[in-house]
Symmetry: C2
Subunit: 190 residues, 2 copies
């Protein structure tokens, strides 16, 4: 029988395992072992590893503090900068490892799973829409470089962020982060 606590433990372990190891490297047994539950109990809770990965991706989404992007008590571009600084600090805290689960799944598995491609696409779309909102606010307040289209700019900045994480992990250095903050906030937007 499915136990509510067991499902939650599996999701939490899957989030950790997928984030640390990637989709293919994290097997169902790795996940159930990490959760401390019998492997046989897995299919009481999830029809497939793929289905679990969609839930784990949602769980990851909760950790990136997207809601901070709608906090109007902070000036729009300062808010956007603080958002990426928080994510940078998380990556540094993990020794320049892990990066973004959306980007990792995007690079590893979207070509091979329509279910996960949809989940990644929707995750990026939600995130981009929030960034578009911030840039719209900045534009209304006269704080955005004239001529920038908020929607295309949001897509671009989020893509730049995803690539920056990959580079920083390969380099195990903050050089790519420094370039991102300097070019996005020092040149592109302001």
């Amino acid at each position: 029988m499915a136990r509510v606590g067991m499902r939650k433990e599996i999701v939490e372990a899957a989030f950790e395992q997928f984030h640390a190891r990637g989709y293919n490297a994290a097997g169902v047994k790795d996940i159930t072992d990490a959760a401390g539950v019998p492997k046989g109990s897995f299919y009481n809770h999830f029809p497939s590893k793929e289905a679990l990965a969609v839930v784990a991706l949602d769980r990851y989404g909760e950790t990136v503090r997207m809601r901070d992007l709608t906090d109007r008590s902070v000036e729009p571009l300062a808010r956007l900068r603080a958002h990426f600084e928080f994510l940078r600090d998380e990556t540094v805290r993990h020794g320049f490892a892990r990066g973004c689960m959306l980007g990792n799944f995007g690079a590893e598995i979207t070509d091979h799973s329509e279910t996960l491609r949809t989940a990644v696409r929707e995750g990026f779309a939600r995130w981009s829409a929030l960034i578009t909102g911030v840039l719209d606010e900045a534009r209304s307040a006269g704080g955005l470089r004239p001529g920038l289209d908020p929607e295309a700019t949001a897509v671009f900045v989020l893509s730049a962020w995803e690539g920056t994480l990959v580079r920083a992990r390969a380099d195990r250095s903050g050089e790519a982060f420094d370039a991102f903050f300097s070019l996005v906030f020092g040149t592109l937007l302001a």
Copy 2:
């Protein structure tokens, strides 16, 4: 005994398999099957899958036409744009799949293999250095936005490109490419 032709067939199959499926999803047997050679022959040619992946990454590097970046018969920023347009067209030709092997390995495996992390880091460093050279030329010719640091800008543009590929694959659409070309060549550099 190691056969020269067989080694080359393994490298070519590995390049295809790693690019299409990723590092973990492409097993040694998948690669030897695709090469049409016995699995047992693999270790006559390579000490490990990891060692083969380094060679396959070099093979991938030959396909991205980095040398075009040093072709001084073309105006610097037009040359840089044509370079990324070629890579965009390759991704579109593959049905918005595959992306960049450096970025894919970067997202999937650099946290777990020091050998592959070094290979990816060096690949990115070479590529960035070539882009820095193009931006230096553009600056000397007065064709670069004043105040941009060519080295940091090169790191940023390459990161933005890598993230753009991931987004375009997740979306199966050219929207992220359009944003990249508009923001990089319409706003950031010129």
